[in-house]
């Protein structure tokens, strides 16, 4: 019983860390975007202010049960992803459920939230929401291909489908998978562009054409929950990348440095890019990223 309580406490700590880090990253992204555009930009804690304001805003209306449940779906997915991804290796404060699941399980649990969110967006009845959702799902079909290819390459090269297994491989050999399976890393990073939805793949939100798409009917507390879920999810995904390709992290500082460096790839690529149309985005993922995915699989088959 005591162990369960400790685990729950640890999960709460993990959640808080993920929330704070994700929010800060969001703020830093805004700052960096501003600096690239030669602006001063908001302070790095701006996202916290926004979140607090959204939470303190009144929410007077809803469009039905699914609309209310959409944010909850999103939150559950974020937390589950966070719990399954090993945050810090061998640290009692960050327990995880990884020994219960594996990478394919993780892939599917990660799609659970967006679909729930899509249902919530659907019930608001706003046509823009539905358009945004179909765009998002199309884009997901796009980037899942190179992403899965890269994961399959890792799995067949190292004969394991669990994240901890892949981390052990890196710990034993002493090299990061990023270096020993470079093509898989390239494919995965390219897939990451679609995952984080920065320009040129921000076709889901698209404030100028879709009025922010799926979230267009959600204000106040709804938006607050989505924003926190998004932050936690960002952190969880970055940690997953670090675990898979950069050997994980043994303390928080190393983790923050690694995740931040990774996070800057889509952010900086996005700052200078305009937006793709949906079919262009989908086809982009089926071009070079898929090619690198193939290379990764070939490499894995040869080196198996």
């Amino acid at each position: 019983m005591e162990e369960v309580l400790y685990n729950i406490l640890g999960a709460v700590v993990t959640f808080i860390v993920a929330f704070v880090v994700g929010m800060t990253y969001g703020g830093l992204t805004r700052k960096i975007t501003a600096r690239v555009q030669n602006r001063k930009g908001p302070p790095f804690y701006q996202n916290f202010i926004d979140a607090f304001k959204l939470a303190s805003k009144k929410t007077a209306i809803h469009h039905g049960v699914m609309h209310l449940m959409g944010p909850a779906f999103l939150m559950v997915t974020s937390v589950m992803t966070l719990l399954i991804v090993p945050v810090l290796a061998g640290n009692n404060w960050f327990p995880n459920l990884n020994f219960h699941g594996d990478l394919i399980f993780l892939l599917y649990i990660m799609t659970f939230g967006p679909l729930g969110m899509a249902l919530g967006a659907g019930q608001t009845g706003n046509p823009n929401s539905a358009i945004g959702v179909t765009r998002g799902l199309s884009q997901m079909v796009g980037f899942e291909i190179p992403w899965v290819m890269s994961l399959v390459a890792l799995m067949i090269q190292y004969h394991t489908t669990s994240i901890t297994g892949l981390m052990e491989v890196q710990a034993q050999s002493g090299t990061w998978l990023m270096l020993s399976s470079p093509f898989a890393f390239i494919a995965a990073v390219m897939a990451m562009f679609g995952m984080f939805r920065y320009s040129p793949f921000d076709i889901v939100g698209a404030p100028t054409e879709l009025a922010s798409g799926p979230v267009s009917e959600n204000g106040g507390k709804f938006l607050f929950v989505m924003m926190s879920a998004g932050s936690v999810f960002t952190f969880a995904k970055l940690t997953l990348y670090v675990d898979l390709f950069m050997g994980g992290a043994s303390n928080l500082v190393v983790l923050l440095i690694k995740t931040f460096l990774l996070y800057m790839i889509p952010v900086l690529y996005g700052v200078t890019s305009p937006r793709y149309r949906t079919e262009q985005a989908v086809r982009w993922f089926w071009g070079w990223p898929t090619f690198f995915g193939f290379l990764a699989i070939i490499q894995a088959v040869i080196l198996k």
């Binding site: 501003a34 030669n38 930009g41 926004d50 304001k53 303190s56 805003k57 009144k58 007077a60």
Partner: protein
């Protein structure tokens, strides 16, 4: 604990502080004033450093910005947008046209005084107000929010009948849902 007077004061202070530093603007681009918004938001003046940011839909927005003259036709839409926004919400009247009609003071199809139809919290004078003036307007709004005096929405609720009467006088075929937030 929330009912306690002192703690309520602290909560109010923190909330007002966060509201002050996070202003999401729904720029309802009526009239010619909309052209001043891009320079305000972009590199040179960069309103984002004050926490001012664009919002896509009324549900997400805090501030409704009326940028210039309002025709009778647009007024109906603006009222609808304002009523869809969630509390707390503020209105910024932008340019002379929203104050007294400006150069369209005798036009047959624009309204002259915005305050008669929507509760304006801050006016920004000028025709056109330059971005500096817009930023000063935002600063003024922030000040009022921090002091807790930006209560246009409450006034609108309290004096709804008066506002409705004014609105209905201008808008001939009134088919709008009731405002009952």
């Amino acid at each position: 604990m929330v009912n306690d007077k002192h703690s309520q004061k602290i909560v109010d202070f923190i909330q007002n502080w966060s509201r002050k530093h996070s202003i999401w603007v729904l720029a309802y681009g009526t009239g010619c004033g909309a052209i001043e918004i891009p320079p305000t938001m972009t590199s040179r003046y960069d309103a984002e450093r004050l926490g001012v940011r664009g919002a896509a839909t009324p549900r997400q927005a805090d501030v409704l910005m009326i940028t210039g003259y309002l025709t009778v036709k647009t007024l109906k839409r603006v009222i609808r947008v304002y009523e869809q926004m969630q509390d707390p919400k503020y209105v910024i009247g932008f340019g002379s046209c929203t104050i007294n009609g400006g150069m369209y003071y005798d036009s047959y199809n624009t309204i002259n005084v915005l305050d008669k139809y929507l509760p304006v919290d801050v006016y920004i004078n000028g025709c056109m107000p330059r971005p500096e003036a817009v930023l000063s307007g935002f600063a003024q709004l922030q000040k009022r929010i921090a002091e807790g005096r930006a209560d246009g929405a409450t006034q609108y609720k309290e004096n709804l009948e008066w506002y409705r009467a004014n609105q209905k006088r201008i808008i001939p075929n009134w088919v709008m849902p009731e405002y009952n937030w």
